[in-house]
């Protein structure tokens, strides 16, 4: 937790120094469509920094979950700030569609568990406590 906070602070400092010395490219000033959508004009400078940190967070989460680092970059670049925000804190609780192939055992397990706790009554060899 502490090291993660330190890391964030360091990244923040590096970003700030980067921005303060970086000479603005010709069309730096355009308010992007993403930003227009979020009506962020009032807090634009602050948000873009935080958004950058969040992107890096989610990229690391993808890599930790087995995504190739190069693809992780491309995947992060494709997501909107709002999508990044959504993934940041709930990547493991959001639905991850996987399908029925290879999961049949899991279906059976679910049914067996439901049977054991007495929600369903499918398998005659299971005697739930409620019976």
């Amino acid at each position: 937790m502490k090291s993660s906070l330190m890391k964030r602070i360091i990244v923040l400092l590096v970003s700030v120094s980067f921005f303060s010395t970086y000479s603005l490219p010709a069309w730096s000033g355009i308010v992007t469509t993403d930003q227009l959508l979020q009506q962020q004009l009032e807090v634009l400078n602050k948000s873009s920094l935080v958004a950058m940190l969040d992107r890096d967070d989610v990229r690391q989460q993808l890599v930790e979950r087995g995504v190739d680092p190069e693809y992780a970059k491309a995947r992060i670049a494709a997501l909107s700030d709002a999508q990044i925000e959504q993934l940041k804190d709930s990547i493991d609780t959001l639905p991850a569609g996987s399908g029925v192939v290879g999961i049949l055992v899991a279906v059976l397990l679910v049914l067996i568990i439901l049977d054991i706790v007495g929600v369903t009554n499918i398998f005659s060899f299971i005697h739930s406590p409620s019976k």
């Binding site: 069309w27 992007t32 469509t33 959508l37 991850a96 399908g99 279906v107 009554n121």
Partner: protein, 333 residues
């Protein structure tokens, strides 16, 4: 799938009658009658089919709708873009984002039966998320709805390893509603799905900008402004895409259209000022910026733009004047 397992279990089990009442009871009445005019029967039989590998319903379903829209892409190519090995599945946000890698738009479909039928009736297969389990123990599954029959009350799906899975209305709608009625369609930039809302379409098209594909984004925004001409944000988005293509006169025209619909929008004035400055119209650009600063005096973006424009070589280009709509000072502190 669960019902099949249950039915088999029923045959083997000893408490079949009880089970049928408890678990296989008729589904509760749901809104299953369309209120919009759609074809009574539709099956998009030409939709390609990719049988899924283990945990790969995401890449397989996405490949089906992308190919149906015209992109030549295989599930294997999509796997590194949407599959999350640690979670053994694909997330909805990434399913929406991945089409942009191929220059296509993934547009969310409103969570209603009407919208689902409308898209199918209009010829677009619909990628859906289903929960084949129960709320407490979900089994998330992506599949592609390719048709329906209103009289027989059935849906046709490309699902898992089934090329043509037939679902009753009730059973499909139950698995779909347990997944929040989530659905999306894939279209070429320039095509606007019938069921789309302006905001959902705009969000979908911004994905093309993030892929540094402003030409495709501009086609999408231009089509959107024809469909929803009174939405200032769509005009501003079209302006931004034109600006990125260095088509500054087109950008200017689009920003002006946006401002005619939303006169006080400082962010759009900021962009208009830059489009004017890029054409050498420094005096007009400064007038626009002055107007923007009156609307949002504390804004740092506007101040930076002012510095930037002042640094550019001043021009006296022949541009249309800009009439500033002053903020209503009576309501401001």
């Amino acid at each position: 799938m669960m019902a099949v397992v249950m039915r088999r279990a029923c045959l083997a089990g000893t408490l079949c009658a009880t089970l049928l009442v408890a678990a296989c009871a008729p589904y509760q009445a749901q809104e299953t009658n369309p209120s919009l005019p759609v074809e009574p029967f539709r099956e998009l039989a030409e939709t390609p089919f990719f049988p899924q590998d283990k945990y790969q319903c995401g890449p397989a379903s996405l490949a089906m709708v992308l190919n149906a829209a015209g992109a030549g892409v295989s599930p294997q190519q999509l796997q590194p873009l949407v599959y999350l090995p640690g979670n053994k599945g694909s997330l909805q946000a990434e399913m929406l984002a991945a089409a942009s890698h191929y220059g296509y738009l993934a547009v969310p479909v409103p969570a209603t039966l009407d919208s689902l039928l409308q898209e199918l009736s209009d010829g677009r297969p619909v990628l859906v998320l289903q929960n084949l389990g129960v709320a407490a123990l979900p089994l998330w599954h992506y599949a592609v709805v390719i048709g329906y029959d209103l009289e027989q009350r059935i849906f046709y799906l490309r699902s898992g390893r089934d090329r043509r899975k037939v679902y009753s209305f009730g059973r499909f709608l139950k698995t779909w509603s347990r997944a929040g009625n989530w659905a999306m369609v894939v279209v070429e930039p320039g095509e606007v799905p019938l069921s789309a809302t302006a905001t959902a379409y705009l969000q979908a098209a911004t994905a093309l900008e993030r892929q540094h594909n402003p030409a495709a984004a501009l086609r999408a925004y231009a089509a959107a402004t024809r469909r929803w001409p009174d939405q200032p944000l769509l005009w501003a988005a079209a302006g931004n895409a034109a600006y990125a293509l260095e088509r500054f006169a087109d950008a200017e025209a689009a920003y002006r259209e946006a401002l005619s619909l939303q006169p006080g929008a400082a962010a759009i004035m900021n962009n208009l000022a830059l489009a004017l400055a890029a054409q050498g119209c420094t005096p007009t650009a400064l007038a626009v910026l002055d107007c923007a600063i009156r609307h949002a005096p504390a804004n740092t973006v506007l101040k930076n733009t002012l510095i930037e424009i002042n640094m550019l070589t001043k021009g006296a280009g022949n541009c249309r004047d800009f009439a500033c709509t002053l903020p209503d000072t009576g309501t401001r502190p």
